[in-house]
Symmetry: C2
Subunit: 539 residues, 2 copies
């Protein structure tokens, strides 16, 4: 994710700050530094050790504080925000356990390379020796998901630490910077905010590499290009389309790309199939595979007796740009080296083409078709419907142009928080969350934040009342589940009532089980502003 442009633009706001009448607290200097560096949103679930940060929201009004009722909502929302804006949101979490609750969605954000500034409160430095109940090794908990971890040592350095955290989050392709702030460093007087620090830009790909890839594409019998990150939206995607038009290369995007623009008018980019044998089959015909902003494709899980690596034996793999290299510049250089026309034609682009409106009892395919028919132009789709992928994998690509965001790290429970974050990032675009009933349960608290912030998110729950993917995977790993095993895979006893749960958190909701009802309710939900949930009952 290229964040430099946004950071530079936002950095100018540092001068908006008015001088404080009395010495700022450490927390105020921290907040002032964040907003000065362009960080304007804080998804939080605070506790006592964060109270000075919280009250600093009153004196640093450029920071929007958004309360979540569970930390996994905060981390997932920050991920969604970062994916859409290219710049970091902050999270404010309470000690080791609060951070622990955020880990699963931070794992997704880490794999998505989303810039996030993660502030974690810590006990006062004087209090740590006593091993009070909440004492934990916060740095150790943070490290597996963070590219940068620091515990502030004084009020004199906390503002500079914050500036470094923003720079670390925004450097190269983006990542999570965790700054741990002891309570006394938040409450003691400070010397005020620090100036923004320039992030390290993505590395430029050498001309020799670009030329090598150009030669490989020209010499290929049949070539494919697999992209991720900036290759799948904006200038990157358009350039990829120009390269495909020039060379005839077939375009793929990673199965769980963080963000992909697609739909009518966009270059045709196939999503790499989830199942290993499907992916291997899709790749079997190519003798050249170019990798842009990702790694060569591997299966999501291993299966007994099946290979993990998916490219065909003998296929030549060329990496144009690794994720920490400048993907857009490399694609531009490659297009130039190939002599691809600046202005792309209509060939190799999706056309608006959606099947007719379905009728009768609902299934996941009909839900997909109806979503594709009704999707507003410019919508942002957070997709975590797992086995209910008709929109995602079939009809969605030729719907109206939209962004689609996937579960980049495979950690379930991202869909609702991600949609929450995209709605904060892009208040003028309709957000749609396609969510499984199993995966939705991990972070259902996101609905409350959507209601509180009046976020424009329509959630569709695919209610099949089981971990259906696990039933599929059972067969794939070569076993069967009888009664006792099946009991830890099904969710039909008791049935979840998503309408009640949603209304319980302030989001109006409806249950539907026919195509006609689903279309009517979805149309109405899309026509209004604000959150709404539809429980689509499917087999």
């Amino acid at each position: 994710m290229n964040v430099r442009a946004e950071m530079k633009r936002s950095g100018a706001r540092a001068s908006d700050k008015t001088p404080a009448a009395k010495p700022q607290t450490g927390a105020e200097s921290l907040l002032g530094t964040l907003v000065g560096a362009g960080v304007e949103v804080c998804f939080t679930n605070p506790g006592t050790s964060e109270m000075h940060f919280v009250t600093a929201l009153d004196t640093v009004p450029q920071m929007r504080g958004i309360l979540t009722l569970f930390e996994g909502v905060a981390s997932g929302a920050a991920d969604g925000y970062g994916r859409m804006t290219g710049k970091p949101a902050s999270t404010l979490l309470h000690l080791g356990p609060g951070l622990g609750n955020a880990i699963a969605n931070f794992h997704n954000a880490r794999k998505a390379r989303t810039p996030i500034v993660n502030i974690v409160g810590e006990h006062a430095t004087t209090h740590l020796a006593y091993d009070a109940p909440l004492t934990a090794d916060i740095e150790a908990i943070a490290r597996p998901v963070s590219r940068w971890v620091r515990t502030s040592q004084s009020t004199g350095t906390v503002a500079h630490d914050a500036a470094e955290a923003v720079a670390a989050a925004s450097s190269l392709s983006g990542g999570i910077a965790t700054l741990i702030v002891p309570a006394d460093i938040s409450w003691d007087p400070s010397t005020g905010p620090a100036a923004p620090i320039a992030p390290v830009p993505p590395r430029r790909v050498e001309a020799a590499i670009v030329d090598g890839v150009a030669r490989a594409l020209k010499g290929a019998r049949k070539a494919a290009i697999l992209g991720r990150g900036p290759a799948l939206h904006g200038v990157g995607l358009e350039t990829l389309g120009r390269i495909a038009a020039k060379t005839g290369a077939v375009l793929f995007g990673d199965t769980f790309a963080p963000r992909m623009e697609r739909g009518a008018g966009r270059p045709v980019v196939q999503r790499m199939p989830y199942f290993a044998e499907d992916a291997a089959a899709a790749l079997a015909v190519f003798d050249v595979l170019v990798i842009v902003g990702t790694a060569p494709p591997v299966s999501f899980f291993a299966y007994p007796g099946k290979p993990s690596f998916l490219a065909a034996p003998g296929c030549a793999i060329h990496t144009l740009a690794s994720p920490d290299e400048d993907v857009v510049a490399a694609l531009t250089d490659l297009a130039d080296a190939l002599g691809a026309p600046r202005k792309a034609g209509k060939a190799g682009r999706y056309e608006l083409a959606v099947p007719g409106m379905p009728t009768g009892s609902l299934d996941q395919a009909k839900v997909g078709t109806i979503v594709a028919r009704l999707l507003p132009e410019g919508a942002i789709v957070s997709d975590e419907c797992i086995t209910s992928g008709a929109f995602t994998n079939e009809v969605g690509a030729s719907a109206a142009p939209h962004d689609i965001l996937w579960i980049s790290g495979g950690s379930i429970g991202i869909g609702l928080p991600l949609a929450t974050g995209t709605a904060v990032a892009c208040p003028d675009r309709k957000c749609l969350c396609l969510e499984g009933d199993g995966s939705g349960m991990y972070t259902l608290q996101a609905l409350w934040t959507q209601a509180r912030e009046r976020l424009d998110v329509v959630t569709v729950i695919f209610a099949n009342r089981s971990y259906k993917i696990l039933h599929v995977e059972l067969g794939r790993v070569g076993v069967t589940a009888r009664e006792r095993a099946g009991r830890v895979l099904d969710m039909d006893d008791p049935m979840l009532d998503w309408v009640k749960m949603s209304e319980g958190m302030g989001v109006p909701a409806r249950r539907v089980d026919t195509a006609e009802d689903f279309a009517d309710v979805l149309k109405a939900a899309l026509a209004q502003k604000g959150p709404f949930l539809i429980e689509a009952v499917i087999p």
Copy 2:
């Protein structure tokens, strides 16, 4: 927690196993080892890498698999189970992110020293090199909450690893042992289960230490004894009562003790106050403080300009037994050294004494009184109602005898899962969960598991529509929140509807706002078997 007796008893069950017709998988040998060592319950939220463990539930029927819809429910339930039985439950989690979701309640279990065998599935060993989306450093995520971490290296050793995990979880005072099992080690053929390994017993306290404490108690002007762990229930508590009767020492329990027996007939043990100044005031009169199974008292959080250490200056602190020493034996030796009568009298014990039934509009004090009046003998109370502590801190001690379980590590979101685990552990006892509306939201998915397993839990939600404790703490750290800061502390927009959320997960529920209604509904809920939720609306 002394787990040896239970482990020895359960170990005999290893002989129940019938020889397998075909070679067992690694997962079957693992499960066989667990049940052979007395581990009979598995709280799980599994994924593809755990499918062989799941299907082994069909061939190893002694293990009860209990599905949770969020991993923090599994870890909290295992904690509740272990606190009540003294022996480990197992948890089965999916890779690093699944473990991440369990961390916050594992933090509580770690501080409670609850024995838990935590099994985490990992990618197949051959798959790890490819950095697939779900790949993470599982050992690093596990270490901050685990006393023992191992990744199984082969099907030849996985059963022995499991035996060692049970022993590690059950050694000394108890703790979390994390065994990480790659998928191929689960699915490959094994040589069958391993024999149980004896855990390391808690260390015996030396006679000289006991004699020193006896002398200190005899010579004290005014002595107090602060206990935790086995000192607060069973033989430990009775012995503590005999020591108090003999010496006149005042008894305290840790504010967030994992488990305490109290109520009519039990020795009077005051709960150490939560706020530092109240605790310091309670301790100010003592010249001798004896510590049993815990550490000297410190404040929960630090506050500007206030000390963390709570005992009076000049108070002599004597540690009778650290948590990893044999607390019950040390207390017995101390009682003998003091010549305390074997048979305790009625003095120094709680008598049944609860105020009259309140009427009119509800508040937290009235809820507390009504709970105290209606509490069935032998109930197990999971307490996470934070600022609504009338039952907990005032009227509960002189209610019918019961167990009360606290938030040992201060990590919010334990109450509902803990109650779930106690109900699995003790199906013949009524379980009551006193839960804040804020804290309940972190792990509300526990309600579904209660409904699925028909667990006998009555949940009372104290609905004050804010993080009230944080409003209290704001003043204590010396700041005030204006509108923008207050907005991340209140939950009144939108209002949570706990009745709908509970019904949405299959647990019948009622909302009440008068004392009369609360009494009626609670009485009816206690009279039936199975889960029920009451939303008590309070100011």
